[in-house]
Symmetry: C2
Subunit: 313 residues, 2 copies
DNA sequence: ATGACCGTGTGAGGAAATCGCATGATCGAG
DNA sequence: CTCGATCATGCGATTTCCTCACACGGTCAT
C-alpha cells in the first residue's frame, strides 16, 4: 500500500482479460506488448499475487486475476462517475463529445444526432468517427470515444456483457430485397422461407454481423442459405441484387440507390437488429454524454417514423 | 480520459481536504509542499476543474473539489476491498499486519493482541508501533499501518467521521485517584462532584484526550476543575497525586506503580473513553486485518474481565 | 519430425514524469 | 509596518515508464 496504483495498470489487466492476449491488449492501448508485460509484472508485484499464468503460447488469468478484474471494473466505473460529476462543474466551453459507430449507423444515427447536438448547443464540440464494429467498443474502453454505437448480439457485443452502459436506440427489421421483376416481388406477403432456393448475397463469415443475423434467421426459417456472392457494404449488396445475382437482407433504414432496380419486401418473420448506444459504465452521468444519448435516441425514433413505406428505395 | 489517474493523486487531495493545508498534507505523505502542489495542479488539469482556491494564506476546496474527495473516498475503499480479496489469494507466508495506537493502548491492547496473533500463526509478521493519538489516523491513511487504535471523540476522531472502518474494542470508565489517606478515600461511593474543590492534575489543553474528557465530565457534574498541575503520562499523573499535589482521573485499565501511595475510587458518574480500532474503509476484509481486529476485541474483553477490583494498583 | 510463425518475457537505453531545493508572492498577526 | 507563515514556480537530480532488440517456448503446416 506504500505505492498506490494507477488505474491504467488495472486497465491493462482488464484489456488482457477481454482479449485473452497481451499483444491484442497492447494493440488497443497503442503500446508494445513489452510495455503491457511490464505493467502486468509490476501489478503482480504490488499485489503480491500471481495474476496470470502461461496457457500454451498465450496467457490465462488466474482466479486472483479474474477477481481483480471484477474490482477493476467497479473502480473504473467509480472513476467515470467522478468524472461525470466534475464535468457538471466544468464550464461548458470545454465540453466535448466523441461518438463512433459502424458505417451505416454513422449515416442513419450519428450524423443526424450530431447535427441536432450542434444546433442545440454550438459550444459543444461534437466529433463523429466511423469504426469497424469490432473496434468500436475497444475505442470506448481505451477512452478514445465517449459513445459507441453497436449491434447487440454476435461476438462483438454478447448479450450478457455487463461491462458497458447500454441504451437501446433502434430495433430495425431486415427487409428482403430481390431483383426488380423477380417472381417474389409480386406477392402481398413474404416469408423468409420463400427465398430458400434463391442464391444469396451475404457478407463473408465473421466480417460483419449481417452474416450471423442472416444465417441464424434462415436456419430458424428451416433452411440454409446458399451463398452465391459476398459483399459487406449495403450499396454493393443492392447492386449485386439489382444485377439479378441473388437476394439479400438489408436493414429497413438502409437506403438503396434509386438506379438499382430492386424490390424491397417486408418479411412476416423478419429478423431484427438491435442497435445500442454503449458508454463506459458510469459515464452516462456526464451532461455531454447524456445529451448525446438523448440525441441518438431521438434520431432512432425519427428513423423508424420517417420511412414513407416499405417499398421506398 | 486519455490519461488515467493514479489513486495517489486523489490521496493527495483527500489529505489536503482533511488537514486544510498543503503543507500538512505533504507532511503526512512524507513529501515536500512543492510536490503536493504539483500533484494538485496536475489533477486539476486532468479533470478540467478548479479543485481549490486560495483562502487567505491557505487553500480551500471548491465544491468540485469536495465532490471529488467524496468519490476519491469511495475509490480508495474499493481499492482496499480489492486488496483484501487479493490478500486471500496470496500465500500466507508474506502476510503482515501493522498496528499502532496511543501509548497506553500499546500496553493494554496491542501488545496482548500481538502476542496472541504470533502464537496463533507464527508466519504472520506482526508489527506494533506507538503513535501519538493525533498521528495514528494519518498513518492509517498514508498506508503506513493497517490498524490504528484511537479514542472516540475529541478533535482527532470526530464521532461522525465516516472515513474509517471502526470497531469498538473497549469502553472503559475513568476512576478517580486521590492521595492515600485522603478524606475521600474512606467513602463507600464517590461522585465526580465530591472532588470539585480539589486541585486537579490534567494534561495540557489539546495535548491529549484526557483533558477534554475530564473537563467535559466535570462540567457535566456542575463544576470547572481547578488545574494545579499538568501531566500527560499516567505514571507521572499518579506520581503527582501520590505526592499529595491533587486528584486525577485515570482509565480503569491504566496501572499505577505500587510504590505510588494513591487510592483508586470508582465513580458513580464516571466518564468513559471508548477505544476503537480503525482501519481504512474496505480493508477489514483482508484476512490478516480481520484477525488483528478480532485479537484486539479479545484483548479488550480480557482487559475488562481481568481486573480483580477497582482498588487494584 | 522439422522449420516457420506467433506470442510472451527480459535487459538496456532514452524519454518523460516526479521530487526536492531555492526563490518569489501574498496574506495575517503582532 | 515588520515579521512569520503558506502557497506557487524554475531548475537540477532521481525515479519511472516506454521502446527496441532478442531469447524462449508453443503451435501449425509441409
Amino acid at each position: 500500500m506504500i505505492e498506490s496504483v494507477d488505474l491504467r495498470r488495472l486497465q491493462v489487466l482488464r484489456l488482457v482479460h477481454r482479449h485473452g492476449t497481451v499483444t491484442a491488449a497492447a494493440d488497443v492501448l497503442h503500446l508494445t506488448p513489452s510495455a503491457v508485460s511490464h505493467q502486468l509484472r509490476q501489478l503482480a508485484r504490488e499485489t503480491g499475487v500471481a495474476l496470470l499464468e502461461p496457457d500454451g503460447r498465450r496467457v490465462r488469468l488466474t482466479p486472483a486475476g479474474r477477481a481483480l478484474v471484477a474490482h477493476a471494473d467497479a473502480l473504473h466505473a467509480g472513476w467515470e462517475r467522478a468524472r461525470a460529476e466534475l464535468a457538471a462543474y466544468a464550464d461548458g466551453s470545454s465540453a466535448s463529445l466523441r461518438m463512433c459507430g459502424f458505417p451505416s449507423a454513422v449515416a442513419g444515427l450519428l450524423a443526424p444526432a450530431a447535427a441536432r447536438l450542434r444546433a442545440a448547443d454550438p459550444g459543444l464540440a461534437v466529433h463523429v468517427a466511423e469504426e469497424e464494429p469490432a473496434d468500436a467498443l475497444d475505442r470506448l474502453l481505451a477512452g478514445e470515444t465517449d459513445i459507441a454505437v453497436a449491434v447487440l448480439g454476435g461476438a462483438t457485443l454478447p448479450l450478457d456483457d455487463a461491462k458497458f452502459g447500454r441504451r437501446p436506440v433502434l430495433a430495425e427489421p431486415f427487409d428482403l430485397i430481390v431483383p426488380a421483376g423477380h417472381p417474389l416481388a409480386g406477392r402481398v406477403e413474404t416469408a423468409l422461407a420463400d427465398a430458400a432456393d434463391e442464391p444469396w448475397v451475404l457478407a463473408a463469415a465473421g466480417s460483419c454481423d449481417l452474416y450471423e443475423v442472416a444465417v441464424t434467421a434462415c436456419s430458424a426459417a428451416g433452411f440454409t442459405p446458399r451463398v452465391a456472392h459476398h459483399a459487406r457494404d449495403y450499396t454493393a449488396v443492392s447492386a449485386l441484387v439489382a444485377c439479378g445475382l441473388g437476394v439479400a437482407l438489408i436493414p429497413r433504414t438502409a437506403t438503396v440507390p434509386t438506379r438499382h432496380a430492386v424490390a424491397r419486401l417486408p418479411l412476416r418473420d423478419a429478423p431484427t437488429r438491435r442497435v445500442l448506444a454503449c458508454v463506459r459504465l458510469g459515464s452516462d452521468r456526464r451532461p455531454a454524454i447524456a445529451r448525446g444519448l438523448a440525441a441518438l435516441e431521438e434520431a432512432g425514433r425519427d428513423l423508424v417514423s420517417l420511412p414513407e413505406g416499405p417499398d421506398r428505395r
